[in-house]
Symmetry: C14
Subunit: 93 residues, 14 copies
């Protein structure tokens, strides 16, 4: 295996794993937050404005960790400095 293949394979593998496993935590956390929001709404319908607002702020922060993972995956697939360097090396040869 030449160097470029190895880097390509590593990028593919890690891009998939980072997104595949990294979204597990946020998904479960959002499920928990939404579930509690629904319980709270059923228990105290009058506070629905505050509850909904806090829920959305919280979901945004949790989603941010999922987005970190997705960003790392996209960087590894489309803007990988190690891959670019080795293409440049090959082209410069």
């Amino acid at each position: 295996m030449d160097s470029m293949t190895i880097i390509a394979v590593a990028s593919i593998v890690i891009a998939g794993i980072t997104t595949g496993f990294g979204t597990m935590g946020p998904a479960l956390a959002e499920g928990r937050a939404v579930a509690t929001a629904l319980t709270s709404l059923a228990q105290q319908p009058d506070a629905s404005a505050t509850i909904t607002r806090t829920l959305f702020v919280g979901l945004a922060m949790i989603e941010s960790t999922a987005i970190y993972c997705f960003v790392v995956s996209m960087i590894l697939i489309f803007a990988n400095p190690f891959w670019n360097y080795s293409i440049a090396l090959t082209a410069g040869k």
Copy 2:
């Protein structure tokens, strides 16, 4: 094994694993959210409008993490830059 085979195999493996495991978290989270929604509806039928609306927003956000995984799988199968590069390399030879 030549380089193209390795890249193909890695793409196949990771495409499957990313979708197969990455949908586990969202599925469980959605199951939890739906379950709590049903409990809340049974407890407070009058707030069904608010509950249903919050549930759908929440499900959409959770589903988004499952879709990240599916998107990464599809990119790896049908729009893989490493695979395209190595086809171009082979064709250009």
Copy 3:
């Protein structure tokens, strides 16, 4: 092992694993949703229309993640671009 065999084996293995493990999450989530629906129905029989409707929407969304896995498996078995490319390569030789 020649390239085609490797790709075939990887496709078989991943097709099975993706479906076999990827349906675990949705199955458990649906079991939870159905279980809560039954509890809610027993607790509040009057709201059965709303509960049933919400349950079916929820089951559809959870089932969608199981279907992503099944779709990826079917693509890998019957519409695998890497396999088609290597058949074309063999045929073109």
Copy 4:
């Protein structure tokens, strides 16, 4: 090991694993659904019609994920395109 043996072994292994592990989730989920149905029936015998109907719809949807796994196993054993292709290749030689 020649190519056909490898494909055969991979098909056997994955067919078994897909069914063996893929039915674990549905089985547990059905057990949960049935258990809750029984609790609900004991708690609210009058709603037995609605409960039984919802239970059967739910069991059908959960069973569908077990059937996806069984279908993939059967495809791998009896209608495996990779195996057919390599038999054709051997026969055509």
Copy 5:
């Protein structure tokens, strides 16, 4: 190792694992269903007819997933197409 031995070993191993692990889920699920049925009977002896009927339907559906596993094991041991093909190949030589 010649091809036939490999196929035989893979069939033996997978036949055992599929049954050994695949019956774990159904067994636990049936244990849960039976346990809840007993609780329900103790709580509501008058509904014993409905409870017992629902229990038996549920057990039948859960048992079906255990039977899928057993069927796959039996196919692999006594009606294995890959094994038959390689016996035919040996005999035809």
Copy 6:
């Protein structure tokens, strides 16, 4: 290692594992069922006839999954078609 040894070893290993692990699920499930039966008897001594009958039916169904495992083990040790075939092959040589 010659072919017969490999098949013998695989049969021994899988026979043990199938029984050793496959009886874990049924044992736990039966423990659960018996435990709940005892709780129910203490709670509702008058329904002891129905409870005991349902318990025995349930235990029989759970035990059936343990027996599947034991049967597969016994088949692998005493009626193994792959082993018989290879003895026949050796004898016929």
Copy 7:
């Protein structure tokens, strides 16, 4: 390593593992059953006859799965057909 050594080692290893791990499930299940029996006795001392009888039937059924494991171990150590066959083969040489 000659064939007999391999078969001996496999038999030793599996005999130990089958008993060592296979008794874990039954032990835990019996612990659970006994524990519930004691709770039930404390709660309803009048029903001690029925409780004790049901407990003993249940323990017998759970113990049966432990005995399957022990039987397989003893067969592998003292009545192993593969070992006997290879001793016969050696003696007959």
Copy 8:
């Protein structure tokens, strides 16, 4: 490594593992049974005779699974038929 060393090592390893892990389940189960007995005694001191008797019967049955493991270990160390056979073989040479 000659055959006798391998058999000796396998016997040592498995003797230790069988006892070391196989006593884990019984220990936990006995802990549970004793704990419940103490709770029951505190709750219903008058039934101490029945509780103690049932506890001892239960502990004896759970201990029996630990003793199966210990027996297998002792057989492997002091009455190992495979070891005896290979000593006899060595002595007879």
Copy 9:
């Protein structure tokens, strides 16, 4: 594999794993904090100012651990001293 490739691969792999797994903990922790905040709001709507303020401080501290992981990933991809050193070494050759 030359040294640069190894360092590139290690950086890619670890960058992905650090973000992918390191955000799991914070995501779950934030989900828990948000969920409790919603419960508290439903229970004591008057204290919403204090609750929201404490929630945001807490989320910021939890998010900080996710950011440590993201920072390490970014350092490994874009400001890796080992990679820079080896580029300098290659350029200086």
Copy 10:
């Protein structure tokens, strides 16, 4: 590695593992039993004689499983028949 070294290493490794892991179960079980005894004493100080006596009998039985492990370790270190046999073999040479 000569035979004696292998046997020595195996004995050392297994002696440590058997004691190290085999005491985990008894320790946890004793912790549970002691904890329940303390709860029971606080709840029913009058029954302290019966509770203490039952606790000590129970601790003795649980400790017995830890002692099985310790005994196996000591046998492997100080009275190992395989080690003695190979010393005798070496001395007799």
Copy 11:
């Protein structure tokens, strides 16, 4: 692989893992502390000063363990004595 590459790779891998996994515990612990603080605030709004103060002291102590991990990572990347030694060795050659 020369010595410097190995040290570089080890440093990269461990720096990522230490931060990635080492922040999991603190994150979960902080999530728990914040969650309980919010529950306490909702339950006893008058004690908000004491609660907030204790929370911040506690978060600081928990965060300190996350910072130990981050410090070790930074030392390994930017102030690694083993790396410096081997650069000095190379430069001195």
Copy 12:
């Protein structure tokens, strides 16, 4: 590697693992016992004499399992018969 090194390494590794993992169970068990003692003291301060006495007896028995592990470690480091034998062998050469 010569024999003495292997024995030394095995002794070091197992001495550490036996103590490191073997004290986990006792530590958790003691934590549980102490925690329950504190709960009991808060609930029934009058029985503090009996509770404290029972606690200390229990802690002593649990600690004994930790001491078994420590003893095995010390034997392996400072009174290892296999090590002594091989030193004697070396010295006697």
Copy 13:
């Protein structure tokens, strides 16, 4: 790989793992202690002096176990006797 590189790599790896995993337990334990302190403060604000004092003593003892890990890491990085010995050996050559 020469000896110094191996020792350096082992020191780096273990320094990271010891801190990364060893702080997980203390972090979770501190989170638990802080959480309970907050619950207790909300429940009994009058005892805040005693609670806070006990909390700080407890946190100090738990933190001590995290500090053991950090100390071992620092010793391995900056005061490693094995590393010093091998530098001395190299310098003395």
Copy 14:
């Protein structure tokens, strides 16, 4: 690798693992004990003297298991008999 390097590496690795993992159990156990102490103090402030005394005795016993681990680590790093023996051997050569 020469013998001394192997012994050094094994000592480093095990010293780190013993402390890193061995302090996990004590830390969690102390967290539990402290948490219960705080609950008890809030519930029964009058018994604070007895509670605090019992807590400190308990923490001391739990800490002792952490100290066993630390002692083993320190012995392996600074007073390792196997290392001393092999230095003596090298010096004596």
